[in-house]
Symmetry: C2
Subunit: 210 residues, 2 copies
Amino acid sequence: MTARRAYDSAGTAARILDVAEQLVQVRGFNGFSYADIASELKITKAALHYHFAVKADLGEALINRYATRFISALAEVDGSAVPPPAKLAAYADLYAQVLRRRRMCLCGMLAAEYQTLPRGMQDAVVSFFDENESWLAGVLRDGREGGSLRFAGADRDAARMIINCLEGAMLMARPYGDVSRFRAAAASLLAGFTPVTAQVPGLAAAAQPA
Amino acid sequence: MTARRAYDSAGTAARILDVAEQLVQVRGFNGFSYADIASELKITKAALHYHFAVKADLGEALINRYATRFISALAEVDGSAVPPPAKLAAYADLYAQVLRRRRMCLCGMLAAEYQTLPRGMQDAVVSFFDENESWLAGVLRDGREGGSLRFAGADRDAARMIINCLEGAMLMARPYGDVSRFRAAAASLLAGFTPVTAQVPGLAAAAQPA
DNA sequence: GTCTATACAGCGATAGAC
DNA sequence: GTCTATCGCTGTATAGAC
């Protein structure tokens, strides 16, 4: 069992995770090796194994840290008392921030490689998406009840729709090296949930560039 | 240059491509080896190298064959004189067929691994998506002109939106082993393009299950 | 906690016989 | 067109000194 634990942000373990995270998000879990991390950090492979005995341990730690950060970013959005449409925009912006660093969503990348992952990583990936879905479903429910969001079907299905589209938009934006593709997709996705009276000006403009 | 060429469907090269295609769609290009194909076909790795000297050659052949088939399936849809909304449904169904075999779209998988691919494969992946986008944009334009489809913004942006959502829905459906997730997402996506008068009954039902 | 050194399997790829 | 045999390299992982 690998409970989610914190990593001293200056410690070696955290620096290993930083480098590994970038490598997975850019190249995939099957696309990098301990040697890549070692050379980047100028330590030896053996030192890496001291911190993460086997690659699966490193992978699980990676997902757990990523999920913890992501979920806490969502909690922060909840803390700021913004209306549901702005929460959705903030959610999409979390994705955009990842893409701006030329990375894929960590768990989106791992979703592609899912069948090759050790069991613990698979479960952690699914948990990540389940938590995202729950958070979004809550925002959507509040928004619909309050009249600031409009959509057909169940909260849960709409939440899944949003995750699908944002992950897909990230996936497609990277081969084109084009963040604006993502922005346009996100904007028009969210516009579909927003009654005209509550459109977010910045995003609506991005959806249909002048 | 690797011009798109045909493969005798009974020949060894074609059988190699069949196995490799499945492996890439399930495990990714970095997730399988020549040894995997060899053992499946009960030939040696050396024999594989006779047909595809280096792995990049195999990869390009894979994409080109896949693209040829996919585009010809689209041409077939065009041949049947169905209305634009049905063409979109047929397009989504091509994705569903892939997913039903527990596979990811070949080029969607390669999009995730994009940064690790040899140049020729990268270009072939982008071409695949460009062709998809063009086909969809044509359908969307016809549909809007004829009044059977309704959407905001440019044909091209709407086409990208559809590709994003379908690829994302495939990506997410696989970890959950749940094709119905994809069906629901595709149905509600297409419903957003379809005026009420032209809803496709089967799909609309799937979007909001009873 | 990091090192040197190494084990050992797997990888893509090649040479040369048949 | 397929084989056996092998190469050189990289992969994950370990042992044991410091």
